[in-house]
């Protein structure tokens, strides 16, 4: 009885292990285990933003990027075209028409959303991008091999690559001012905002505050906190007075973005498919070529 028991136990456990190992990987790349409940975030209230672009200037200054003096930012002509964060600007503010008051357009700051389950982290094959316990998604220049998978994976199309640099090109994106915060300072953009359209704090508090704002002024906001659930939640969350798709926010589901990229990657590599198929192919080539050789020998 005893040995039988052990045998059946072993059988069962191998079966379970096999099932677990062979089940196609579901979206588990989100580093759930390291997400601190006190992780930080920023609440962007686009109904408060006045489009002064001080945050753009502060970001460039804090990250040692070239920038003209602050006074030149009073010029509003950059708003005439839609801009994206790139290697020269880690954050940009875009302007959208406000149907209710054409004189006061809506302005929206764009930067890395610092996803709770970042697709870039999941896509990075060398682990150069990582999600920090405090919420930040940061990039390690020593590990990066420049594959740019992160750029493809990001649902917000944020990471930018220094194509113009032959030696030591970097991936550039908002780093949540990790260095500044380490010194006990606020992120540069948050500190520079004259109207505190950007509120920095624990993400949980920010979501609660955002809900309070919507509840107290339902006429001012649409009842949606962008980033609360999008792609599994983001550290940066947005409030707006108009529907988010009108402000060019991508319409994303609530499932973490790595779910898509990982299932593709893991799908390809599951069940030893690439090596097995490679050997099968080589075997087939060998087999056909040897047959042909035999035939040729017979004929000669």
């Amino acid at each position: 009885m005893k040995s039988q028991n052990r045998r059946s136990f072993l059988k069962a456990s191998t079966a379970i292990a096999a099932a677990a190992g062979l089940t196609p990987a579901t979206a588990n790349a989100g580093p759930k285990n390291i997400l601190s409940p006190n992780r930080m975030g920023v609440l962007v209230d686009t109904t408060v933003c006045i489009g002064c672009r001080n945050c753009e200037w502060a970001c460039k200054t804090a990250h040692g990027l070239d920038t003209p003096p602050l006074e030149t930012y009073e010029d509003k002509t950059p708003f005439d075209q839609m801009r994206r964060p790139d290697t020269t600007a880690l954050t940009v503010v875009n302007r959208y028409e406000n149907p209710e008051n054409p004189e006061l357009p809506t302005t929206v700051k764009v930067q890395c959303m610092h996803c709770d389950h970042p697709a870039c982290v999941s896509a990075c094959i060398v682990g150069a991008i990582s999600k920090q316990a405090d919420g930040a998604v940061i990039w390690d220049t020593d590990k990066c091999i420049g594959c740019r998978y992160c750029m493809v994976a990001c649902p917000f199309q944020i990471p930018a690559f220094e194509y113009n640099k032959a030696i030591g090109p970097r991936i550039m994106k908002c780093d949540f001012c990790t260095e500044r915060r380490g010194e006990g300072k606020l992120p540069a953009c948050v500190e520079s905002c004259p109207v505190e359209a950007l509120t920095f704090g624990p993400r949980e508090d920010l979501v609660r505050i955002a809900k309070d704002r919507v509840r107290h002024a339902p006429e001012r906001y649409v009842d949606h906190i962008y980033g609360e659930y999008e792609v599994g939640g983001t550290s940066w969350c947005y409030l707006a007075g108009t529907e988010f798709d009108k402000l060019q926010f991508p319409k994303l589901g609530v499932n973490p973005a790595p779910g898509v990229s990982e299932s593709i990657q893991h799908g390809i590599f599951a069940y030893f498919v690439p090596p097995v198929s490679l050997y099968a192919l080589l075997g087939a080539v060998m087999w056909t070529s040897r047959q042909r050789g035999d035939e040729e020998e017979e004929h000669s």
Binding site: V48, I50, G51, C52, L70, E71, E74, K76, E103, L104, L186, V190, E191, C193, P194, V195, E196, T199, F200, G201, D205, L206, I209, D212
Partner: protein, 376 residues
């Protein structure tokens, strides 16, 4: 029994003590009733008023308020704002009043902004903006209307002399000379409001007419330099008749309509008095000015339809010939209600109560006369 009574006594004493502590402390400048509706609010039932945005009423006159204030800290490029507080307070009279800025400020004395808004942006309570943001939001709420570039120099003192010279100030108020309102009726098509006369000759303060006004209503960028403009407004666009009249009614409530609406009567403006009010105007009432019957101030209130309410003792001296029928000797001295039983004088008279064989209008109690002759 004894210990129970003792405990009971303790409870009563405790209750009395706690009630005492809830009573206002002497010398406190706070008025409990600013927040609590009950005289002795308890912890269980604090009976709080619908907090927090209450109106500040009668705390002090505007001229007791500081004339100017220096707001904001000294920065590298910009100095503090020389805020013309009193001027803004006067302007606020036409809008939300003191509470427009001094929100959450129901208790005397008026609170400093930093009593609630944290000086540092790095803080515990993220629910309300920090001091810098609160002030910027407060000012920009209106100033952004006419300063969409958001230039810092339009409020802040600028250290750079060149930038100082270029700094734009807020727009001046563009008061129109006169405003022509289009009423949408055939007669009395327009009402001309002589704005300059009201502000100049009659020296009316803005707030005497302008209430619930937005800043933009006066500081309109598009109307800069339009001081001598003649504006045309459609009263019917977006506002009710009552709202259109409300501003003028403060002074002109007792005036006849024709004071503003030249040559105006209910008929001339196409108002179907019979259908809309149930009191059809006969040929004598139709040409009258509205105010001759609707004497109460403000809007048009219902007038008692009984003739006596306007025409006191009319029956004694009424000349029936004016209706086109001169009464004969037999009917002349009868009481009006003998024939006009229900006091509706324009309806058919009742003959049946006296004469079984007679009926209006086949038989008449007198001689028909022409209206023209009756008038003479």
């Amino acid at each position: 029994m004894k210990p129970i009574t003792l405990i009971g006594l303790l409870f009563v004493a405790g209750g009395a003590l706690s009630a005492q502590s809830a009573a206002p402390k002497s010398g406190s400048s706070m008025d409990c009733r600013a927040c609590h509706t009950a005289a002795t609010p308890t912890k269980a039932n604090p009976s709080l008023v619908a907090c927090p945005r209450l109106k500040i009423k009668g705390y002090h006159a505007i001229d007791e308020a500081p004339a100017t204030m220096s707001l904001g800290a000294e920065g590298a490029k910009y100095g503090p704002v020389n805020f013309a507080h009193r001027a803004h307070a006067h302007m606020a009279e036409t809008g939300k009043g003191c509470v427009g800025c001094h929100h959450y400020d129901q208790a005397r004395p008026i609170q400093k902004c930093k009593n609630c808004h944290a000086v540092s942006r790095k803080r515990e309570d993220l629910g309300k903006p920090d001091l810098k943001a609160a002030m910027h939001r407060q000012c920009l709420d209106c100033h952004r209307d006419w300063n969409p570039t958001g230039s810092c120099a339009s409020c802040h003192q600028v250290k750079d002399a060149v930038a100082k010279a270029a700094a734009k100030k807020s727009t001046t108020v563009a008061a129109p000379q006169k405003i022509i309102y289009e009423t949408g009726s055939k007669e009395g098509k327009t009402v001309t409001f002589f704005h300059a006369d009201h502000t100049g000759r009659f020296a009316l303060a803005c707030a005497e007419c302008h209430q619930q006004e937005s800043c933009r209503g006066c500081h309109d960028r598009k109307r800069i330099g339009a001081n001598n403009a003649v504006l045309t407004r459609h009263t019917t666009a977006g506002i009710t008749e009552e709202q259109a009249h409300a501003r003028c009614a403060t002074c002109h409530a007792k005036d006849e309509c024709s004071v503003c609406h030249k040559g105006m009567s209910p008929k001339s403006i196409g108002f179907d008095h019979g259908r809309r009010t149930g009191f059809a105007l006969n040929r004598f009432h139709a040409p009258l000015d509205c105010k001759q019957c609707h004497k109460s101030a403000g809007g048009f209130t219902r007038v008692n339809a009984d003739c006596e309410s306007c025409h006191k003792g009319w029956q004694a001296k009424f000349d029936h010939a004016k209706t086109g029928l001169a009464l004969d000797e037999q009917h002349k001295d009868l009481d009006c209600t003998s024939c006009h039983e229900d006091k509706t004088f324009h309806a058919k008279p009742v003959c049946k109560s006296c004469h079984d064989d007679k009926a209006w209008p086949a038989q008449r109690p007198g001689k028909a006369v022409g209206r023209e002759t009756a008038k003479k």
